[in-house]
Amino acid sequence: MIYLDNAATTKVAPEVLKEMVSYYEEHYGNPSSIYYFSAACRDAIDNARQKVARAIKARPSEIFFTSGGSEADNWALKGIASALKYKGNHIITTSIEHHAVLNVARFLEGSGFRVTYLPVDKYGMVDPDDIKRAISKDTILISIMYANNEVGTVEPIREIGRIAHENGIYLHTDAVQAAGHIPIDVNEDMIDLLSISAHKFYGPKGIGALYIREGTEIYPLIHGGGQERNRRAGTENVPGIVGMGCAIELALKGFDDENERIIYLRDRMIDKIFSSISGVKLNGHPEKRLPGIINICIDGVSGDTLLLNLDMAGIYASSGSACTSGSLEPSHVLLAMGLTEEEARSSIRFSLGRYNEIEEIYEAVEKLAELVGRLRNS
C-alpha cells in the first residue's frame, strides 16, 4: 500500500495517538465540571491552545477550537457577515476556494450579500491588484485561502493582508492545507481570521480551530453552553484538542528538515514522472507551492480511470479534493486556472507526507507509467 493522498487526510502520528488515548480512559472528565478531576482536561485544553497559538504566532486567547476546518470556515464567513451586516454586504473571495468557503459564499449570496469571486492566473495565483479593484465601501470581508488544496499554489497572503488592513477590511484565510506545512505568522501576514484542521497535519479528524484576532467583531455559529469563552458551545472534544496540540507541536519541531525531505521526494517524483511519461504537464505554481502536493495533467488519459487502476495496484491518490471527488465533476480549481474540461478530467493529485519513503515514490511512478501506457493503448 502506498498512500499518496495526504492532502485528503493524514495518518495520525503515533506520538499523538499515545497522548489522546489517556483522555479516553483516564482524564475523561467534562472540562466544565468544577471539581479537580476535570482540571486535567482544562489544563490539557489550555496547553493545546498555547501550542496552536505558537504555531501561527497568535495569542492563546485568540484560538477557538471547532469540529474541523469546515466549521471554522463557516463560522468565519457567517459570523463576520452577521456581525458586520450593518456596515456593508460585500465579500471578496476567489474562484478556487475549498467548498467550505465557496458554498458559504453562495449561501450568503442568497441572504442578500454580494460576493466577488476573483479569478486566478494559469498557476492558480490571485492578483492583489484585482483585490484592490474589487474593494468597495460595502466590503466587509476578504476570504482567500493560504494555499490551494488541489494544486498547492501558495497565495500572496502578506500582500493581501496589507491591502485588507489599509482598507479596514477583515481578512480571513483558509489555511487548512498550509498550517503545519509552511510557516505562518498571523501578525506579519495581517490576518484577522484563520481556519485550520488537525487531520491535515497528522492529528485526528473532527477537530480544528479558528484564529480570531482580538477585537474582531464576530457572531457565534453554534449556541449553547459557555464553552470557548462563550463563542463556541458544545462539550469540548478533549482527546481531539489534545491530539491537535501534540500534532502541531510535532509538525513544528522538525519543520525545516522535514520540509526539505518532502520537497526532495516531491521533486524526485516530478522528475521521474516527466522522464518516464510523455505528454505530462504540472498544474500549479512552479515555485510558490506547498511542499507535498503534485498535480499533473496526463494527456489522453481519464483521471478517474487512472485512479481506479492505481487503487487496484494499492496506490492511493486523488483527483481534486476528497470532499468533491465523489462527484466526478471536473475540478473548479483547474477550470479557473484555464484548463479545458478535458485537461481537468485528465488531472490527478499526488500528495506526499511524513510517512512516505523514496522507494514508494519510485514504485508509484513506475506503476503510474505502466498504467498510463496501457490506458493510452486501449
Binding site: M1, D5, A8, T9, K11, V12, L17, M20, V21, Y24, E25, Y28, G29, N30, S32, S33, I34, Y35, F37, S67, G69, S70, E71, D73, N74, H98, H99, A100, N103, V104, R106, S197, P204, K205, G206, I207, I222, H223, G224, G225, G226, Q227, A233, G234, T235, E236, N237, P239, L307, D311, Y316, A317, S318, S319, A322, C323, T324, S325, G326, S327
Partner: protein, 382 residues
C-alpha cells in the same frame, strides 16, 4: 480510589471500543470521501455506525446525520428546520428546562424576530400538555423539548406532545442527549421528527453526535462545504468519534432495560443508605419516575458547591447542575423553573450513574455524604 458519579456530564470511554478507535486512527485512517480503497473502508465504517444508531432508534440509517455533538445537533435541528420551512410560520415553542444549546438558540432566534414561547414546568419538571394545546397556533412551526432533563431526570411525555404536534402539523424536535441509550423507545412510534444525541454520554467520545431527521422532514444545513452527510453537514467526518458512537450504540442494543434496572438499583441503594441522614429531599419526579441514571438532591443548610468540593477530597465526583453551566456559579434555571426555594437550589447536587458503577462505590459515596453533610452544617455560618 476514584468514584465517578457524574455520568450525565460525561462518561468514561468503554474499554471494549478503545481498540476500534485506535484502528480507525492507525490503519483505516482514510477520508470517507476519497474514491480509493482507503476511502471506501472509511465509508464502510461510517455506514456501520449509522446502522447501529438507527437500530437503537428503530429508524432507517438514511435518517441519521453525524455531527460534532449534542450541541451542534440541537443547533442544526432547530435552525436547519426553520431555515428550510420558513413558510410554516414564526412561532416556536420550547420549555423552561432545556439545555443551553436549545434555550440559547431560541433566545438568538427571538432576536431574529421569531415569536418564542417558553413553557413552564410543574414542581416535578413536567410540561403541561394543556399548555401546549393552548398556545399552539397556525403560526407555530416547531416544538423543541427534551426527552430527559439533564439535571433532575424528568422524562417528558413525548408521545402525547407529538400527538398534538402531528394534529397541528407542527414539527417536533427532541433533545435526547440524556435519553438515547438510557431509555428504550421507538422514534417512529413516538412521532419524533428530529432527535439529537451525543456520543460522550453513552461511553463514546467527546466531539461526536448525531441528529435523526425523519424521512419526510426537510432541514437546511448550518455547515456548508464539501457536501458530506448528504449535504446536511459538511466537513471531513470525525471517524474516531463515529466508530466510537457506532460501537457504543451496538453494545447498548438489547441491554437498555437491563442497564436501566441496574442503574435504578444503584440509585435506590444510595437513597436507602442516606435515610439515616435528615434534611434532604429529592428534586424532580422522585426515585421511581425519573430517568434511571439521574438523582438530584437538595441538602438543607449547606451549599451544593461546597459539598461537591468536599466529596472531591474523597475521590468522589458529582456535580451541582449541568456541567455546561456549573462553571458560571449562577443558579440552575432548571431548579428555578421547578419553583424550588433559593435555599433548596443552592443546596442541590446531581449524582448520575453509569453501568460501570458498583454498589460498593455507591455505599462509599453515601458514607462520605453522611459524614460530610453534618460537618458542613455544623461549621457553616448562616
Amino acid at each position: 480510589m476514584e468514584i465517578y458519579l457524574d455520568n450525565s456530564a460525561t462518561t468514561r470511554v468503554r474499554n471494549e471500543i478503545i481498540n476500534d478507535i485506535v484502528m480507525v486512527i492507525t490503519e483505516n485512517y482514510g477520508n470517507p470521501s476519497s474514491l480509493h480503497h482507503k476511502g471506501f473502508k472509511a465509508e464502510k465504517i461510517l455506514n456501520y455506525s449509522r446502522e447501529m444508531i438507527a437500530r437503537l432508534l428503530k429508524c432507517s440509517p438514511e435518517e441519521i446525520y453525524f455531527t460534532s455533538g449534542g450541541t451542534e445537533s440541537n443547533n442544526l435541528a432547530i435552525r436547519g428546520y426553520l431555515k428550510a420551512n420558513r413558510r410554516k410560520g414564526n412561532h416556536i415553542i420550547t420549555t423552561a428546562i432545556e439545555h443551553p444549546s436549545v434555550s440559547n438558540t431560541f433566545l438568538d432566534l427571538k432576536k431574529d424576530g421569531y415569536n418564542v414561547d417558553i413553557l413552564p414546568v410543574n414542581p416535578m419538571g413536567y410540561v403541561n400538555i394543556d399548555d401546549i394545546k393552548r398556545i399552539i397556533t397556525e403560526e407555530t412551526a416547531l416544538i423543541s423539548i427534551m426527552m430527559v432533563n439533564n439535571e433532575i431526570g424528568t422524562i417528558e411525555p413525548i408521545k402525547e406532545i407529538s400527538a398534538i404536534a402531528k394534529e397541528k402539523g407542527v414539527a417536533l424536535h427532541v433533545d435526547a442527549v440524556q435519553g438515547f441509550g438510557k431509555l428504550d423507545f421507538d422514534v417512529k412510534e413516538y412521532g419524533i421528527d428530529m432527535l439529537s444525541l451525543s456520543g460522550h454520554k453513552i461511553y463514546g467520545l467527546k466531539g461526536s453526535g448525531a441528529l435523526y431527521v425523519g424521512r419526510d422532514i426537510k432541514i437546511a444545513p448550518i455547515l456548508t462545504g464539501g457536501g458530506q452527510e448528504r449535504d446536511i453537514r459538511s466537513g471531513t467526518e470525525n471517524m474516531p468519534g463515529i466508530i466510537a458512537l457506532g460501537k457504543a450504540a451496538e453494545l447498548l442494543f438489547g441491554k437498555i432495560d437491563e442497564n436501566a434496572r441496574f442503574m435504578y438499583e444503584l440509585k435506590k441503594k444510595l437513597v436507602d443508605e442516606l435515610k439515616e441522614l435528615d434534611g434532604w429531599s429529592i428534586n424532580g419526579p422522585g426515585l421511581n419516575e425519573a430517568a434511571p441514571h439521574i438523582l438530584n438532591i437538595s441538602f438543607s443548610g449547606i451549599r451544593g458547591e461546597v459539598l461537591v468540593h468536599s466529596l472531591e477530597e474523597y475521590g468522589i465526583y458529582v456535580s451541582t447542575g449541568s456541567a455546561c453551566s456549573s462553571k458560571h456559579h449562577s443558579e440552575s434555571p432548571v431548579l428555578k423553573a421547578l419553583g424550588l426555594k433559593p435555599n433548596a437550589i443552592q443546596g442541590a447536587i446531581r449524582i448520575s450513574f453509569s453501568i460501570f458503577n458498583t454498589e460498593e462505590e455507591v455505599v462509599k459515596a453515601a458514607e462520605a455524604i453522611k459524614k460530610i453533610v453534618p460537618e458542613l452544617r455544623k461549621y457553616t455560618r448562616r
